[in-house]
Structures are given as C-alpha cells and as structure tokens.
Amino acid sequence: MTDRTAQLIACHECDLLQRDIQLNPGCYASCPRCGAVLYRNATDSVDRTLAYTLAAAMVFLGANVFPIFSIEVQGDRSAITLFGAVLSLWDQGMRSISLLVFLTAMVAPAVELVSITYLLLPLKLGKVPPSYPLFMRVLQFIEPWGMVEVLMLGVLVSLVKLTHNFRVIPGMALWSFAVLTLLLAAAAASFNARDIWGQMDARWKEQAPQ
C-alpha cells in the first residue's frame, strides 16, 4: 500500500491524468475536469460488502423460492414465483422475453453475489482467490444487467394493476425482494473495485516467489 498515494489515475470518462490521493473513509474523489467519480473510500469496504452480500444471498434464495403474490377469483387461486413466471412465459411462446427476464432478474444477480463472495471471502482470510482478474471482469460486465430494483418496481406496478380486479395476497418473496433491493444497493455502495485490485495486487506479489 506504500505506493498507493504515488499512483496515477486516468479519468475513465475524460482521460485526465491525475494523482491518486489517500481519501478519508466515506469520501470520494471526482475528476476536476468532467466531474466523474474516480474512486471512493468506503468505510470498512471489504467487511461491509461481504456482510451485505452474504445477507443478500440468503434473501435472494427466499425471493426465488417463495411466491411473489397470489390472486383469488371466486375460490380460484393463482400464485407465482419468479421462476414460475419465467417458465409460464416460455410456455406461452414468449421465449425471448422469458429469457431476458431470467437473465436480468435471476442469473445476473446470482452471478454478482457469487463473484463478490468468491473474491472477498478469501481476501478477508488473507488469501488471493485463483484467477481473480477473471471474476473482477465478470463482475464488471454483469453489474449493469442485474435489475432487481427495476423488478421490485415492476412487482409494485403489477400489484396496483391487479388490485383493480382481484383480491391480491402478497407473498413472502415480495418482502424478500424489497429487502434484497436495499441489501444490493448497500453492497454496491460499499464495494470498492479500485481498492480490491490494489489489495489483490499487493497480496499476489507477496505470495509470488521473487
């Protein structure tokens, strides 16, 4: 970590070359030319991100296992889970939409949670996970495609639309999604990619024989 303050950083949005300075916890550095956020120093970044991620992983399971909500019409009851909805749409012939929902609402968040755990858990224990650059890259690629918060809003909009015609019974997964949205936002806010690259790099050099 000795050379951290001396390192240069080029703004990813305007390529302005700047010197990386040590930030106080909770602060962020922004580019003086274009205003982009260059990097942050989130408090206890690794610990907090790991905690939020593990909690989110558990809630994520709940959000996928339990029904989101059910409707009742004259004794006829219909309930759906997220995966049930994906399957149902597949059967109705809307395969591309079904796949899109499956990838953005289930696969992407799952990959995100697994990658963060895979990277941070060994780091917390003082080890460097094998092929970490690959997982950092996967994480960077998958991040824009995880849309749990959009799904949450979609669930709420559907809920309002349904209450016009049906009695709607909210399910366990509805609450799980609400909590998951908050946990993922918290994990994203405390995740510090730049710091993790730095730490991995330092550890890797320690481990490598000369």
């Binding site: 390192q7 591309s96 939409i97």
Partner: protein
C-alpha cells in the same frame, strides 16, 4: 499478467498545468482494472500488466458500433410502439393495449401515479436514450468542443437511467404468468414486448459501447486511436 517487468508511471509532473491527457503521454488506463501503464511495443497488441486485459487508448470502433446499435433501436422502436404490448381479457371486457394506450388507460382509470411511472420508464427513458446517444455520436463525429462537461453529464444520465425501461417487461411477465384463469381472466404478452425488450437491450449495449473520452478529445491537438 505479471508483477515483473511492469512499467507503471509513478508520481508524474504536477497535474495542474494544462490538461494532461493519459493517451497524449503514451499512458493507457486499463478499462477493467483502471491501472495506468505505459503502452510498450508500438503497433503490437498490448495487455494490462495487472489484469491481462487488452489495452486501448480508445475503444476501437466505438462510434461505428454505437451507431449500428442506435439505428437498430430506432427501427425496433417502431414495432415496439405500434404493436400490441398486452392483451387483457375477462368475462366482460377485452382490451388490446400498446405501450401508449396502456398508459392512457391507466391514467383514465385513476391510477395516475402508476401511469406517470410507466410513462417515464417506457416512453420517456427510451426516447431520452436514443436522442441523447444520437446527439453525443453526432457531436463526437464532428469533433465538437461545445460544452463537454454537460455532454458527459448527459452520458452519465443515460447510463444511470437506462435500466429502468425494463419495467414494462417485468410487469407484462408477472401479469401474463399470474392471470391465467381461463375464461374468467387472462393476460397475454403481445408482440410489442419482444421488440421493446430488444430496444432496451440494444440501447444498453449502445450506451456501454459509447466512449465518453471521445467527448473530450477534440480539446486536444493530438488524435488518439485504438
């Protein structure tokens, strides 16, 4: 990828004088790990010494690919709005709604808040994305020096709000899966959902493909490629 033989510029000259651009000094910022390193071996493929990703001063072919994705989105935007998004049937009524008529119906039936949310996500955001990307692409191609800070902010806005247009896709999916009660009530996703989903995905790829550093390059004398 290796710790040995890596060349990293440390503690450069004061960065306040003029506007030191990484590419102008032969320095390249890795697009994966952001490590700034000197590009060695002129003309050859260079890799980041830390993470092994390919190094580029500027993402090659960014403008062309972004144009292709934007034009494809414009084309798909037509069926996305002209075709049926959702069919709703019950014992008494049967409705076929496009995106816009769905919003109007929500407004008329009193759910004005939901109508506003769906309007923003399904109509305003896709149009904002398409027009903004078009504006950015044209300004970059003309090497415009007009208000780069504002244009960068516009790009950041497009990047941040883009995902929210998936809203309608999720709503249609949930309703179509849940409301399958035979003659009592059914909801079906229409062909517009496919086109609209494609618009959302393509505009997201277009946003990722766009290189915001190109907005700032015309302020420099040099031209940077690859």
């Amino acid at each position: 990828m290796g710790a040995d033989g890596r060349e990293v510029e440390r503690a450069g000259p004061a960065v306040t004088a003029g506007a030191p651009i990484a590419a102008a000094r032969g320095l390249c910022s890795c697009h994966v790990c952001q490590l700034v390193s000197r590009r060695t071996g002129n003309g050859r493929v260079a890799h980041c010494p830390r993470c092994g990703a390919r190094l580029h001063f500027r993402r090659p072919g960014s403008v062309q690919r972004c144009w292709a994705l934007v034009i494809a989105s414009y084309i798909l935007y037509i069926p996305a709005n002209a075709l049926i998004m959702m069919e709703t049937g019950s014992l008494i009524t049967y409705r076929k709604d496009t995106i816009v008529s769905g919003v109007v119906h929500l407004w008329k039936t009193g759910s004005w808040m939901i109508a506003v949310i769906v309007f923003i996500a399904s109509v305003a955001i896709p149009l904002l994305k398409l027009f903004s990307l078009t504006l950015l692409l044209i300004s970059v191609q003309r090497r415009s020096t007009w208000n780069p800070r504002q244009r960068t902010r516009l790009y950041r806005l497009v990047e941040a709000v883009g995902r929210w247009s998936m809203l309608d896709i999720y709503v249609v999916t949930l309703l179509a899966a849940l409301v399958q009660l035979g003659s009592m009530a059914t909801v079906k996703a229409g062909p517009a959902a496919v086109a609209f989903g494609a618009v959302v995905v393509l505009t997201m790829f277009a946003t990722m493909e766009f290189e915001p550093r190109l907005i700032w390059d015309p302020l420099q004398k040099e031209e940077f490629h690859d």
